[in-house]
């Protein structure tokens, strides 16, 4: 099993460990619910070193990314700016979702999912050979990644990294800066403020322990999943994959169909407009929504399906993301089939929670 540089630390903290796409990762350190609330109310930290940073270096890096990804990297004008995008296959399916940081015209940095890292590298190297043979594409397994999230997350990081406040206090959302050995980005996957920090793997344990001493609670992949679901953020492999269109996965806002830029997958998307959409569901009856549960729509023979579901600790009821026909609107009531019984759920616009506040 693959391990991050914090693996022994997780074991020492008695984390419940799980196999996550071949990685031995912490699910929780005692209570997933407590960890969830700590992030919403104070500050928590996640080891996300299983995700892969990839540096794209050389002349023409921007031109290459113009072809490679569905969002428009021409939005990246200022050094440190970040962009969320899908990388599509020629059929318009999602190979992965990722973040691209612009550092300079000859240096972009991408962060891709752990479970897709190998296929992403193979795809990018093949496209590089075809489109921009001079570019270097460098996987950065020498970097650890720690996400510190919550209303007090930034203040805790400032306590731990001396001098970091002055350089990161002015960062807007989706901006990053290099500071000593730290790459500090004001991004996250929880719907709370905070940083995602890359640093040399060899420094990760010391940094983790310093954050712990500053009062940041360790949080596992379990809380990460309930937090991102409340924040209405997609999870690759559940809410979208190579067989689904980003336009039917709640990701239309990340796909640039307005400019005449030709990116991989664009023609397929133009040829197949969305017939389904991703919506939020709040369960009205008692129970728990789970992925793959079917949705029955009165007067409609086409059905829908939950892509991500679970219990929302902040709402104290079950919520889900579901792929349903375009005819469903926010406010509609639908039936979700749970163990052969129909339960009532209300369609809502997501996110469900942002910055500690319930929005539905």
């Amino acid at each position: 099993m693959k391990t991050t540089s914090l693996n022994q630390t997780h074991h020492d903290m008695n984390a419940k460990m799980v196999d996550f796409g071949g990685w031995d990762m912490p699910l929780h350190y005692g209570s997933q619910l407590d960890e969830h609330h700590k992030v919403r109310r104070d500050a928590g930290m996640f080891d996300v070193s299983h995700m892969l940073a990839v540096d794209i270096k050389g002349d023409g890096a921007r031109d290459f990314l113009r072809r490679l990804v569905a969002n428009n990297v021409d939005k990246l004008l200022q050094s440190g700016k970040a962009l969320y995008s899908c990388m599509l296959n020629p059929r318009g399916g999602v190979i992965d979702d990722l973040i691209i940081y612009y550092l300079s015209e000859s240096h972009f940095r991408m962060v891709v999912n752990a479970g897709t890292a190998d296929k992403d590298m193979a795809w990018m190297l093949a496209k590089r050979d075809e489109l921009a043979p001079g570019l270097e594409i460098i996987p950065r397994r020498d970097l650890a990644m720690i996400a510190v999230q919550g209303p007090n997350a930034r203040a805790r990081v400032w306590e731990v990294i001396a001098g970091s406040q002055a350089v990161t206090e002015g960062l807007k959302l989706f901006q990053a800066v290099l500071f000593d050995q730290y790459f500090i980005a004001r991004t996250g996957y929880t719907g709370e403020d905070g940083f995602e920090i890359m640093l040399p793997s060899s420094d990760a344990v010391e940094f983790w322990n310093a954050l712990l001493a500053a009062g940041v609670a360790p949080a596992g992949l379990g809380a990460r999943d309930t937090l991102r679901l409340e924040a209405g953020m997609n999870l690759y492999g559940q809410d979208m994959d190579e067989t689904t269109s980003p336009l039917e996965s709640g990701l239309g806002w990340t796909v640039d169909l307005k400019t005449d830029r030709e990116f991989i997958g664009k023609q397929a998307l133009l040829a197949a407009p969305a017939r389904q959409q991703l919506i939020g569901l709040v369960l009205l009856d008692r129970g728990v929504l789970r992925s793959h549960q079917k949705i029955a729509i009165p007067g409609d023979t086409s059905d829908g399906e939950i892509t991500s579901g679970g219990f929302s600790p902040t709402l104290n009821q079950s919520i889900a993301l579901a792929r349903v026909p375009l005819s469903i609107n926010a406010g509609d009531e639908v039936q979700v089939i749970v163990r052969d019984k129909p339960l009532r759920a209300k369609a809502v616009k997501y996110p469900f929670v942002r910055n500690g506040k319930i929005l539905v």
Partner: protein, 129 residues
């Protein structure tokens, strides 16, 4: 982890306690709650329902997953724990106190076919390896 010696156990991690009045109280074990994590929802059987041994009759759901609960013995449901609807976390706090439902056994001797604490302990150890 101590396994109470006055209870009987199933392979699917339910426990059974025979009460003085002859009813059987059923819950899930400490091991089961540890595997599942924080509980968020419990669905109990209808009172009066007649259950066969091994019949699916309740569901416990944690933040992580849903798990079916099977009736350890045949019998008729006489009560369900009213506390669990609003406080499913009681199972995490004390799995051997947070009973799910009570049965009037068809045959109380059926309990003798279930594992005792030593047998359950042995099964857990063999699952570990």
């Amino acid at each position: 982890m101590s396994i109470p010696s006055d209870l009987r156990y199933t392979k699917s991690h339910e426990w059974v306690r025979l009460e003085n009045d002859g009813t059987a109280m059923i819950g899930i074990t400490q091991h089961a709650q540890e595997l599942l994590g924080d509980m968020v929802f419990v669905e109990t059987p209808a009172i009066g329902r007649k259950l066969k041994q091994g019949e699916e009759c309740a569901v416990v759901e944690s933040v992580k997953a849903a798990a079916d609960v099977y009736s350890p013995i045949a019998g008729e449901v006489t009560a369900v724990n009213p506390d669990l609807e609003l406080a499913p976390e009681k199972i995490n706090q004390d799995a051997y106190a947070a009973w799910l439902f009570k049965l009037k056994p068809v045959n109380a001797a059926d309990l003798n076919h279930l594992m005792d604490a030593a047998g359950y302990q042995k099964m857990l150890e063999s699952e570990d390896h």
